[in-house]
Symmetry: C2
Amino acid sequence: MSEKVTIYDIAEKLNITAATVSRALNNNPKIKEATRELVIKTASEMNYKQNKLALALKSGRSNNIGVIVPRIDSNFFASVIRGIEEELYPHGYQVIICQTHESIKRENENLHTLVDAQVDGIMMSVTGISNENDSAFRNVLEKNVPLIFFDRSKHIDGVSSVTINDFKGGYLATKHLIDEGCRQIAHLSGDRSLDIFNNRFLGYKQALLDSGLTFNEEHVIHVKSSVEAGKEATTTLLGLQTPPDAIFSSSDFAALGAIQELQARNYSIPNDFCVAGFSNEPFTKFMELSITSVDQSPLEMGKMSARVFLEQVDKTDTIKIEKKVVLAPELHIRKSSTRTNF
Amino acid sequence: MSEKVTIYDIAEKLNITAATVSRALNNNPKIKEATRELVIKTASEMNYKQNKLALALKSGRSNNIGVIVPRIDSNFFASVIRGIEEELYPHGYQVIICQTHESIKRENENLHTLVDAQVDGIMMSVTGISNENDSAFRNVLEKNVPLIFFDRSKHIDGVSSVTINDFKGGYLATKHLIDEGCRQIAHLSGDRSLDIFNNRFLGYKQALLDSGLTFNEEHVIHVKSSVEAGKEATTTLLGLQTPPDAIFSSSDFAALGAIQELQARNYSIPNDFCVAGFSNEPFTKFMELSITSVDQSPLEMGKMSARVFLEQVDKTDTIKIEKKVVLAPELHIRKSSTRTNF
DNA sequence: TATTTTCGTGTAATCGATTACATAATTTTT
DNA sequence: AAAAATTATGTAATCGATTACACGAAAATA
């Protein structure tokens, strides 16, 4: 029933050696055409399937690549993974998913597990920039496993990354709010020890300065990426001496929270107050009051990461090429910040 | 630099054989305590890591399990995968993700690829019930690879499944709409050759009959799971002789489309018209007009699938146990269908 | 025809870990 | 102290495929 057919079975049947069978199946030019055809025909008849594990052991390559993300049930990460999978599938790679659940300890474990599982490469979005787990990263590099960061990256020599231009994203969103007539623009930021959040903040600040507006430290609030956090931050902002008339949020969820809080207080959006988010989560365009947001082209990011991996995977002998790909963010302007009618 | 340490290296260093090293590391009781400690200490010093590929080849078990879903960038599937991963991680399994993109051909390929990759089990939500790819399924079963369906399943002898009670889900949602005073309830259905959609439809129909309402064939429309399809279907429904006063949609996206179309026509929801969806997608609760929806507890579904797999994986000798787990759906009542005030 | 090439296939090692079986070392029993 | 039982370790096969090297046979050259 569950007959596992090996090249030895084929060899026996044809009175030849496994070596010949192997060569015939691999199109080795040294095999006689008649033999090759016979082997291929017989293999097919016997329903032979190459044992990938044996191949992996022999070659040292598993044809699996690992992907580590904070969580998979977020549209952004799921889309990146989709991109990676689509790009790598034609090359015969399988994608192994690991989630850190925002825990450095777990990130550590995942890195070790993947290396132990002999993956041919690792693509990840780091969970934090703490140094606690540097040994796990060192382990990856020592074992010469290609490592590629996407979106959230760490500064490690020789490691490539695919990110978007978060500075520009923050700049575009803020500039847009200014263009709509807002003058007191607040910013909901994430953990600024992570580049992505720091750069969005810097872009925001630069846009203010370039437009001759003053940067107000009070208007920058650190929030978690949640609706609740957005509400709280908004409450705080509205209680200030000089309350803002717009919010640029690093998180769509926090932006949504802000909108809900504002509406609860009878603010009219976008007339009294404008809001823009970041990530272009699906719900931003579904809302009746659709939310302006910066798109990070996650699908493209995934595909690009996969391509960088493919470029790198063969050149293990060459000196490591560090490649930094920076994708352009795209501002999707929607109702939450559109005062002018088209 | 990239020194791969094997048990032979350890053996050589300690002047013993690899067999002894292997036994010591595997806590074989026949090993002298002193030897065991020495080996473990040395292994750790030399930074030895077990080669999982060699182990996999020897044991025939890869410690990978495959998950096949139509797509990963949907909250439902991503959540199921999250559940599977969380449950299997402690058991040392890695999760390999494959997407069919709703193509039977691709589903076929994925099944073969996973079997070839020697996964220890496959969990999947089928893309269609066509018989085109029965040979791929037969291949899986012949190779004795445990197969488990979740959500969308096929009827195959000896294959376990984890689903929700879609009939009850449809019944609950419809009954709720009736309780809110709706009398002409339409239904947006999916591909009814798939059990999940057929059962939701049957639950809908039964709820109507149980309440003494007449079932109107015209009120059932087949739609794809998209906002656009929901809009079109709503337009059709409103043009009928007896237009409906409520919609129960098998898809949250179609339900959203319906709401948008209704609002565009100045219907007041929930007063003039009630809407309920299915899947409890995140956006349903984010909307200002939040959408009533049936929750499928995807996280629980993933965990349960993993548990069924774990039960089955050891008993390859025993006669296959076919296990059908049916989870209870949960109706989340929200603004789109709440006429009564709390 | 003898010699050199070329061609096709076989032999055996290898990837790294596990394990049935054999054997040496030690302890227990008589 | 000899025999038996126990314990610890070594030997070698195995999982399935690939491949350097060897070698015989056929073809080409001298």
